[in-house]
Symmetry: C2
Subunit: 202 residues, 2 copies
């Protein structure tokens, strides 16, 4: 049975959300996985926020692995809905993986969005005087370390499409992450882990 990958991300806010979901599921199949895309259940839950929330949580519980689109969204960090789901899935002991259509680092992005950092203290500060994490990470350490501690992969491939804002829909980094996951699953390693997790949970 193919491993189920929960496909999280602000992709659901794209005009072309449905077609991005189809493409992602298709690419999952190419790599031997089954993709679960949040919009797949939206026909049943309608526009009710409580039902959408619970359906997303249920889908995450059903999935074996998470693959999160961490491309910066409306600011220098990832979409908060996506990050909520990453924390929720990490707590279940499942591998959480990320990809982003932007280059590191978070520090550089804060400077890009809000102007030069104040470097006079040991810790760099933004224009409001708030410390900016300086670990050379792609985003907040809770995200990056959760991926590492879960045994996950984080891929970043800068996409430039000439449009305003981050090119949310690009799939090069997504493909790179699927390729890395297929490699990690060589000999069924991820499948064996998922199977013992399911036994432990039941």
């Amino acid at each position: 049975m193919a491993l189920k990958i929960y496909l999280a991300g602000p992709d659901v806010f794209l005009r072309e959300a449905e077609s991005v979901g189809r493409k992602k599921r298709q690419m999952c199949r190419e790599f031997g996985f089954e993709g679960l895309f949040p919009l797949d259940k939206d026909k049943d839950v309608g526009r009710d926020a409580a039902r959408i929330f619970r359906a997303n949580c249920d889908m995450i519980r059903r999935a074996d692995i998470g693959l999160f689109n961490l491309t910066p969204f409306r600011g220098p960090s990832a979409d908060v809905g996506t990050v909520f789901e990453l924390g929720f899935m990490f707590a279940q002991g499942k591998p959480v993986n990320g990809y982003a259509n932007a280059a590191p680092t978070y520090l550089g992005r804060v400077a890009e969005v809000f102007g030069p950092l104040d470097e006079s203290d040991p810790a760099p500060r933004d224009r409001d005087g708030h410390t900016v994490e300086n670990f050379g990470f792609f985003d907040n350490l809770m995200i990056v370390r959760a991926i590492a501690d879960s045994g996950g992969v984080l891929t970043a491939v800068e996409a430039r499409d000439g449009s305003v804002g981050a090119p949310l829909a690009a799939l090069d980094a997504f493909r790179a992450c699927l390729a890395a996951l297929r490699e990690r699953n060589a000999g069924g390693a991820l499948e064996t882990a998922a199977s013992s997790r399911r036994k432990g949970a039941s």
Copy 2:
């Protein structure tokens, strides 16, 4: 034994982080709770990202309740590190509560930060053409619905301190949330729930 409240938020990035932590713990005591502030353990973990991450996760596991500072941070949404922790704690079946030093709604804030929304479709869109959630919520539905489904409280009190950026350190909404939690704990209701959770988990 007083209930342990994990005090999450981008407060740790403030210049006055330590004194904000002291004030928050003191206010928790006034309301009959014990506050756990992330920086309380930083002397032991140093500047090592992996150890900071694991120490935060351990503190959340030890806590009975979460109280998250969801004041918008570097954009129209809450701090992603805080939101990761909210998802992680929600998954443990514990009540997650939030406060914010800004008024609703997310929709209004997106328009404020990025300019007028395109209202020609049924779903409003930002300048990049991405849908903006329109539930009248304070932030992304995953955050707001997790708080509600966990039995938590969300308080918002707009703080205006004249400085650039959101007034992260204001404590009026924090106090309002503690007052609501004390009321919910009348007769030890929250303590009883926490105690049966601990029994169930062991």
